[in-house]
Symmetry: C2
């Protein structure tokens, strides 16, 4: 049974919510990383991802300048790094280096892969779309990588105030 | 450590993925429901949601015609209904009625709320955006409702082939 409520009250019940890390690299080699929770697939073939991001972010500046980035699904051991990426600004520091994240070379783009992520998706910028109060970056996936550890699972945002956690699932039988 | 792989192989590691139900109602009162996994927030204020849907779906026809719909987060006891909504077409049957989903009247739009969902978000169509192979419907949330049962949790897609399941999360301490 439903009862009417404030929109923000209802949205407290959305968790767990996925979180991804996005890496970028300037033409001069300066790197950055950010955390994004507003993300989903928006095309199947070719595969495209949407990322709702912050107008003021250094990552957005690098994405527009280079039109390349990497979207990584963080692994469960990366909660500290995701929190760091999600709560600091890249304009004044090398966030990727200071985060302690281990990197690997990508195959198509110059931004780095994250070695301990579950998956890394190399992307080319297709469009920046703005339906509301923030830019939505659309990336076409041009190459993919996965962790050699096939048991490694994604990290999720499991509650408000950047609560990071692991998630375990059980398939439900049809009644 | 990452190894290069096919894009579709990498995407098998995306689960659990959220799933929502979308209800619609034609001017003549014919209702429909569909399941959508490609969805995320794309604006915070006003709150807007993106839904990547099927060009051929009856729901898409109703959304364009009425510019109104409801997005519901299904509860854990709704796996059968979500599977039904996700695997049938609404052109030839009244999917909402045949699904057995219990409904309630919405406050602003004419489409129905789902009584057993965790949350229902009444939406007005803002835009249809098409970056790739499918339309992405953008809805502005105009009213919200939540289940009186505050312990009720969302249902997720937990694996390929429409595996529906419950998820349990644990907050990870920062190392």
């Amino acid at each position: 049974m439903q009862k009417k409520c404030r929109i923000d009250e209802a949205m407290k019940r959305k968790y767990p919510e996925q979180v991804v890390l996005v890496t970028t690299r300037s033409a001069k080699g300066r790197e950055n990383v950010m955390a994004v929770g507003w993300t989903c697939i928006v095309s199947g073939d070719p595969l495209m991802l949407a990322l709702g991001i912050d107008d003021e972010s250094y990552s957005y500046e690098l994405i527009r300048a280079t039109r390349r980035f990497v979207v990584a699904f963080p692994g469960e051991r990366m909660s500290r790094e995701v929190l760091f990426a999600g709560t600091r600004h890249g304009h004044k520091m090398d966030k990727l280096r200071e985060s302690g994240l281990k990197v690997q070379k990508a195959s198509v783009v110059s931004a780095s892969l994250l070695a301990d992520a579950v998956v890394n998706l190399e992307c080319r910028l297709v469009d920046v779309y703005r339906p509301g109060d923030c830019p939505v970056v659309i990336g076409k996936v041009v190459a993919a990588h996965q962790n050699r550890d096939t048991r490694l699972k994604r990290l999720y945002t499991v509650g408000q105030n950047y609560a990071m956690g692991k998630v375990r699932s059980t398939i439900l039988k049809k009644r």
